[in-house]
Amino acid sequence: MPLIETHELTKRYPGVTALDALSVAIEPGIVGLVGANGAGKSTLLKILLGLLEPTGGSAEVLGMDTRHEGTRIRAAVGYMPEHDCLPPDLTATDFVTHMGRMSGLPAAASRERTADVLRHVGLYEERYRQIGTYSTGMKQRVKLAQALAHDPRVLFLDEPTNGLDPAGREEMLELVRRTGTEFGITVIVSSHLLGEIERVCDFLVAIDAGHLLRAAPLASFTELTNVLSVEVEEGSDELVAALVAGGFTAHVDGHLVLVAVDASGSAGAAPYDAVRDAVAEMGLGLIRIEQRRHSLEDLFRDAVELPAGTAA
């Protein structure tokens, strides 16, 4: 059974559909939840926590229904919201201890774990200072610490790198990676920055405007496409003409010539041979010939670059 599963999950607000019949299954690991701002990432996390009631559909976390077993889910899940959520007049130690106890830990255990998790997120002497005196980076660490205080089985991190400088982003991503790999806690981390999230995740869920674009292991997002990319010094148009005449689907894209290859690959080396022969025949300078890989950005690129039937 998947760790998290949604069925036709829908959330409508007056005038806006935040989630539109989203069905997805998520397995343990570090899972990136990626989409533009407003794509429905935060809404999804809040529904999974039982903080928001869905308009339609259902969702299960650890096999528990979000509508009816919210408290049991929240006992096993840690949540780091996107926004500021810390009281400025408490110390990090007092606050995280309090939150640990609110999650069901006895007082002594909560104090002990607070010391552990604050050290883990990299807060030392400053943990006895009022949170109001902290930098943004330190506040993000406290937010992560309070989510870890009760040793959850699943962590929901909503845009954990928000507002951080480049060095702070690096450190936060490293913390996320370590939390997922060394502690074995499943981490669902949302971000609108693909480049960031692909560095820590092993599974990616991409959503756009409340729809699921794709949910798959990270590697499959960057697998080979059915497009051969050819770069010649000059004469792109002539090359395309020659290839089309030879029965291939090809067109010019910027300084590249894109040639469709058979999806199954059964055509073997035929397109490669055709390009080689055409280039040699016309005496063009061939710079590069390679099979294109998907880039994560392709997911969100609406424009279809190739004629119908050739896109992957």
Partner: protein, 321 residues
Amino acid sequence: MSGPTGRDEATTPGGGATTPGGGAAGPGGAIYDIGYRGYEGPRLRRPQAVRTLVAHTVRGAYGIGRGGRSKVVPFGLLVLLLIPAIVSLGLSGLVGPAGQRFDPIRYESYYSVTQTILFLFIAAQAPELVGPDQRNRVLPLYFSRPILRSDYAFAKLLALFVALLLFTLAPQALLFTGRVLQASDISTGLSANLPDVLPILASAIAISALFAALGLTISAFTPRRAYATAVIIGVFIASNAIGGILYAVLRGEARRWVALLSIDTILTGLTSFLFSTPTADIPSPIVKRADLPGLVYIVATLVVVLAMVGLLFRRYHTVEA
């Protein structure tokens, strides 16, 4: 309720490298694993979380665990509240217990003497208990804990009630202790003062419940402290003013029921009933003239409290998290 519940599965999701306790003692000393440690101990349930939040909030009401400035208002007001009791005890110490007969500071009159201070405490502290959680957006962190939204509302209300009960009882307890000790001997003192204990407790509970429900519900509707304080004071003054105006305008039977229009007259009527104060000694002319049965004031208090609690729970059911 708070028995060990543990985890369903036998293994830590954290897996291998980490063990609870985190260390192994060898002959040459202890080796500590400073890596991540899971938690295998008991996980307590909602009642424990509510207790935690109540304790945390009661401390917050007095500024304990916060900065020094947070303590100024509650403890300043507490000192003001205690002054009449201290003065009264000082006077009877000088004049002797006989002077108590003429002393305006008595158990039954303490509320009417100090109600403004009680009220300032509510206006100042009730917004502090719920406003910051909304202002700083800590509420989503509470709601993402294994509690219900209603648990949060209930804990906050109970906390303000307890904080206010302590505040209301403190001068009475001082007065009681002083009176007993000032008596010719302890047993005389106890027999003279013990009959008042039940009315003291009952009136303190009623006053605290009414003020807590009113103050917390108003405060829950805004993250802004200043607005909440202004509305609380406004409600108190406006209800008194409306009561006063109607009392002046109305005639006949309707005039009696004006006593149920303001918070002040409801509580004066209730305390007078609980202490069996003779009608002539009731400090409020409106309540004196109304001469309503005590049960009416009890019902009025309950109605206000329940209405406020209903509103409070509705607010936290719908507030965005």
